[in-house]
């Protein structure tokens, strides 16, 4: 049922979408074709799908750990921005430094940037008990403004007629493309899948993963077991910040090749949905990331082939999410059935 319910949800969403499209006077089957098949019917488009999916998978997998341990980090967007900025220090400020070590150094600095920024809400939560939902969200806006100021000001390309973008990165500072003959997709997607699998191993096979689950499910039991809750806050936030920072620099050094006033069109928020659609399982996040990336591309394809507006595309995306989430209820009853056996009376 765990694997079937999202498929049922998707099927229901397809039916609802077909009804909506015929109401709007569009051929329903053609619309669904444009949405789900057209984007993967050509190789170059599949590459675009992988480009879009990479940051969603990376951040979705990182957020799984956060949410499983009850750390409500909704600021991945800001952490992604800071990762992109930190990773760009070398190619923007020191373009004369060249060599094969530049790209790995950029990736590492990106990870550090994301971790440092995620560390702020973690620190505030552990030290002052400040609610992390609010601080991580506020830090998104602040990160956007810091990026904006930096790219318009000190990091602006001196040869770009004062337009707000940095210099183009040199080839050695770019993430190479996987199969340049077929499309633009770079190794970011491979990195994303590998990281997601590593996080899955961490969660499923290690003591740390066990601690995450226990602390999330029952803070009191965790206390008895001697797990340090404060430590866990930092662990979860820094891990999620690391994946978000990596996603940021992958986006900048990959598809973009320069820093601009925006790095992400809201990937950090979409990743929250990815984490939940993937049932807070890193492997689920891989699937969910691909599905959501497909709905974005499908929305663009439908605008071209059917002339439906961007709003219809967004409504349909919302409908898909609604139906898939609604079908969770099918799993829920099974979980509850098992859970009521395990939890002793009065433990809630």
């Amino acid at each position: 049922m765990t694997y079937l319910s999202p498929i049922i949800g998707l099927a229901l969403a397809l039916i609802a979408g077909a009804i909506m499209f015929s109401f709007l006077g569009k051929p329903p089957l053609g619309a669904l074709y444009a949405y789900f098949i057209e984007p993967v019917s050509e190789m170059w488009s599949v590459h675009e799908l992988l480009i879009k999916a990479a940051p969603l998978i990376l951040m979705g997998a990182g957020l799984c750990v956060c949410y499983q341990s009850n750390n409500w980090n909704i600021g991945a967007e800001g952490q992604m921005i800071m990762g992109g900025m930190a990773g760009s220090i070398l190619p923007v400020l020191f373009p004369q430094i060249a060599g094969p070590f530049v790209l790995p150094a950029m990736l590492i600095m990106g990870v550090i940037g994301g971790m440092a920024y995620a560390g702020i809400p973690a620190l505030l939560k552990t030290k002052f008990k400040t609610n992390e939902i609010l601080t991580s969200l506020m830090l998104v806006y602040i990160a956007q403004l810091i990026l904006d100021w930096t790219v318009r000001g000190p990091w602006r390309n001196p040869h770009g007629l004062n337009f707000p973008e940095t210099r183009q990165f040199d080839a050695f500072a770019r993430l190479p493309e996987m199969i340049p003959a077929d499309g633009r997709a770079n190794f970011g997607f491979v990195i994303a899948v590998v990281v997601a699998l590593l996080i899955w191993v961490l969660m499923a096979k290690t003591m740390k993963g066990f601690q995450v689950k226990v602390i999330g499910a029952s803070p009191r039991a965790a206390k008895f077991a001697g797990f340090d809750a404060k430590n866990m806050v930092f662990f979860a936030f820094l891990l999620a910040g690391a994946t978000a920072g990596l996603a940021g620099i992958v986006e900048v050094a990959g598809a973009s090749g320069q820093l601009r006033t925006t790095i992400s069109p809201g990937y950090g928020f979409t990743a929250i949905i990815v984490a939940f659609l993937g049932r807070l399982n890193p492997i689920g996040a891989i699937v969910a990331g691909l599905v959501l990336a497909l709905t974005f591309l499908g929305g663009e394809a439908a605008q071209i082939s059917l002339g439906v507006s961007d709003k219809v595309a967004r409504v349909f995306q919302g409908l898909i999410l609604f139906f898939v989430l609604a079908c969770d209820t099918l799993i829920l009853y099974r979980i509850r059935f098992v859970a009521s056996k395990i939890i002793p009376k009065g433990a809630a």
């Binding site: 002052f128 349909f316 509850r336």
Partner: protein, 306 residues
């Protein structure tokens, strides 16, 4: 009208939609439900209110429809998260995506139409008093509703039996259920109240603040409202203070720019967010009061035994 009054009035207008939406969400969260879809409900209210006012020519009907649109939108969330026990965080985000898209679709024929403004109240003599006159007696009707809502919500939560029951559900829905309280029915009402408030806030945007319809006109205000609830540690009076503080800093930075202070505008734009974090850290120093007010069941699904 002098400059001080003018500035205070501007702050009040900026703060009112935030205040109303945050008050609604406060009641929702007190019942133990976290609805992150405020932005989506607000924008639905804005489009519904504008469309109704434009079709009927009556801004009051617009306000009514705005409230209705917000409440209906929230019903979708309530059905999923309460009846089907879907994940609240994800459903709220999905609601925002849906609301932004749907409002754009509904609003397409109304783009560029001249708006109808809900006019300010004017009481002879009283409104003309210096300083307090325009502030207390010359504002738009929604402003008075927002103040009444602060008092009403505080009274309801802390002075009525229903309010007590609602809070107890938010603190422990299992015990509440054991006591025979209809948990889901309370939560349905709370979520719909939150939706109605978000819708009213949206109506304020499209009928008072800037009387027009444009796509995405809520521009992130729903998220600010959500932040205000936490910022206020779930106390209505503190929501009031927070909304006005936020409004004051947002308007203040524009004035600082107009005066020509040489600070990067990005820094000034970031000020309200930084201020929110700082104040929140200061407030949460007092751990005990924060913990007492935080609904323990926030965001957790309740599945009744059958």
């Amino acid at each position: 009208m002098g400059m001080t009054e003018a500035i205070l009035l501007t702050i009040a207008t900026a703060a009112t939609p935030l205040l109303i939406a945050a008050l609604g969400e406060l009641v929702v969260e007190r019942s133990g439900v976290l609805n992150l879809g405020v932005e989506g409900m607000m924008i639905m209210g804005a489009v519904g209110g504008f469309a109704a006012a434009s079709l009927t020519g009556n801004p009051w009907i617009g306000i009514l429809i705005a409230i209705l649109f917000g409440a209906i939108t929230s019903l979708a969330f309530a059905f999923l998260t309460l009846s089907l026990a879907a994940n609240q965080v994800a459903t709220g985000l999905a609601l925002t995506i849906l609301g932004l898209g749907l409002s754009g679709l509904i609003g397409e024929p109304f783009v560029g139409q001249a708006g109808i403004k809900l006019s300010n109240i004017s009481i002879p003599v009283l409104t003309d008093l210096p300083l307090v006159g325009p502030l207390l007696f010359g504002q738009d009707p929604i402003f008075y509703m927002s103040i009444a809502l602060v008092i009403g919500v505080a009274w309801f939560l802390f002075r009525t039996r229903f309010g007590l029951t609602l809070r107890s559900i938010g603190d422990n829905h299992i015990s509440a259920h054991a006591l025979g309280i209809p948990v889901l029915r309370y939560r349905y009402f709370a979520v719909m109240f939150g939706g109605a408030c978000a819708g009213l806030a949206g109506g304020h945007l499209s009928l008072v603040y800037t009387p027009q319809w444009v796509e995405n006109m809520s521009a992130g205000r729903g998220w600010i409202a959500l932040a205000l609830v936490v910022f206020a540690s779930w106390r209505p009076a503190r929501v009031l203070a927070g909304a006005y503080l936020f409004g004051a800093v947002s308007i203040g930075q524009l004035h600082a720019q107009a005066l020509g202070v040489g600070v990067p505008s990005q820094l000034l734009t970031a000020l309200p967010y930084i201020a929110t974090i700082v104040v929140l850290v200061l407030i949460s120093q007092n751990v005990r009061t924060t913990l007492i007010n935080t609904p323990a069941m926030l965001g957790r699904a309740f599945v009744p035994e059958r």
